[in-house]
């Protein structure tokens, strides 16, 4: 018990870093996902290709390679220098963005064509149709899958410890080696992640219930 009590302040500090990175990255990721999905569906072949290439590149490579590429690879070019937290946020955002874009695209395509026809026949333009008619319906349908991806991204942030970010996992590792109580510390670490993810799912199902599809 003492081990946990002593380690807790450090773990909480790590949790703060994890949540900070997660929240910023997931919001950025969602924006990226929306833009890429719209590019993917835009009536211009080149835009479709660019979007598809981006998604394929992210899906076809491991997260850790993306992280190293962005942190070590881009920094090594010498045009700018990114600190590890920024690199971590960017990687999680881009990675989540690619997966989000596929979810959003599928969501948009799942809406009946008649909705667009009704909206356009009233005189709404393509943007207004997307904004007021298609996306609100699509998001309701996508929420469970979006939550799922957000949980995966949260877990992905634990990999950021390898570039020295003092996130929850990193703090746990330090505590484990200092206290020689690896079993207790890593069990605690697991429980903390579990609780955070549980709360996240609760939040998602609350939102879902609030916006039931009629």
């Amino acid at each position: 018990m003492d081990t946990i009590r002593n380690a807790m302040p450090y773990l909480m500090e790590g949790l703060q870093v994890t949540l900070y990175i997660f929240i910023i990255a997931i919001i950025l990721g969602f924006i990226i996902g929306l833009i890429v999905a719209l590019l993917r569906l835009a009536p211009f072949k080149i835009l479709n290709w660019i979007a598809k290439f981006f998604v394929d590149a992210i899906r076809g490579t491991p997260f850790i390679v993306q992280l190293f590429f962005i942190y070590f690879g881009l920094n090594s070019l010498g045009f700018f220098s990114m600190d590890n937290t920024t690199a971590g946020i960017v990687t999680v955002a881009i990675n989540a963005g690619a997966y989000f874009s596929e979810i959003i695209r599928a969501g948009i395509q799942s809406i009946d064509r008649g909705q667009t026809e009704a909206a356009r026949s009233l005189g709404l333009n393509a943007t207004q149709n997307m904004r007021y008619i298609i996306l609100p319906q699509a998001f309701r349908r996508m929420l469970p899958t979006i939550t799922n991806q957000a949980i995966i991204s949260l877990k992905d942030t634990s990999l950021l410890s390898v570039i020295g970010i003092a996130d929850l996992t990193q703090e746990g590792r330090i505590q484990a080696s200092q206290t020689f109580e690896a079993f207790t510390i890593y069990l605690t670490l697991g429980v903390i992640y579990f609780i955070v993810i549980y709360l996240l799912s609760m939040l998602a199902s609350f939102v879902e219930r609030k916006f039931v599809l009629r």
Binding site: G114, A118, G123
Partner: protein, 242 residues
């Protein structure tokens, strides 16, 4: 005044030519009922009138504006051309009132209060004021279609297009929807109605247009077209449906 002028309209889907060469003129306040066998191109014809389908050849003029001209602001033209679909296509995430007010709120200059008042008037007209705050999922088919008509009317269109508005309805609901359309006809709305309701076409139509194989085979006042069809294909079709 001529509301719709169709000149040598052609429409292909890929290699398949669905509309081959159609020309007609529809005047203000005219009610034109379009009949014909399944797959003959009735819906496609109607959907070319507001360019919901890209037109492959010929011209369609709405109040004198050639909508096949790519420079035309089609969204502006569509505000004057209401459309009602077989499957209603109400917005399920919006209440009945919001379904009706959404487009005018975004596109019209009048203030919110006036638009809402107008929406309630339209709901009175289709007999559904008490459903203003219901959602489409809570309505019967006939109620949905009447809301869809009110939604189209909220833009103050000069022309209304109907694509088999009663075909997806239970028989006991058909009358309510047809009554609303009759009322519109009496008030002088210009209407093009694709329908299988021959009785309605005969009673309300100023003209009936028979389409087959991508052509307007013949068009005439209902009494003549139903009573004295000129073409073999019209006769064959009518003998099946009457």
């Amino acid at each position: 005044m001529t509301m719709i002028r169709v000149e040598n309209l052609k429409k292909s889907f890929g290699k398949i030519e669905v509309l081959k060469d159609m020309s007609t003129v529809i005047e203000e306040k005219e009610v034109v009922c379009v009949i014909g066998p399944s797959g003959s191109g009735k819906s496609t014809f109607l959907r070319c009138l507001n360019r919901l389908e890209e037109i492959t050849g010929g011209h369609v003029y709405i109040e004198g504006t050639d909508i096949t001209n790519p420079k035309v602001d089609i969204n502006k033209v569509r505000q004057d051309v209401g459309m009602v679909f077989q499957q209603f296509n109400l917005f399920p995430h919006k209440s009945v009132l919001e379904n009706i007010t959404l487009a005018p709120m975004k596109l019209k200059k009048s203030d919110k209060k006036a638009i809402t008042e107008k929406a309630y008037e339209l709901l009175d007209k289709v007999g559904l004021r008490e459903k203003a705050n219901a959602y489409p999922g809570e309505l019967s088919g006939g109620q949905k279609q009447r809301v869809a008509i009110a939604r189209a009317l909220a833009m103050d269109p000069k022309i209304m297009l109907f694509d088999e508005p009663t075909s997806a309805l239970d028989p006991e609901m058909v009358g309510d929807v047809l009554d609303v359309m009759k009322q519109l006809a009496v008030e002088g709305m210009t209407m093009v109605i694709v329908t299988h309701e021959m009785g309605f076409a005969r009673e309300v139509g100023d003209r009936v247009m028979f389409i087959d194989g991508g052509y307007i085979v013949e068009e005439n006042v209902p009494a003549e077209l139903f009573g004295n069809p000129q073409h073999e294909r019209t006769k064959a079709f009518l003998s099946k449906v009457l």
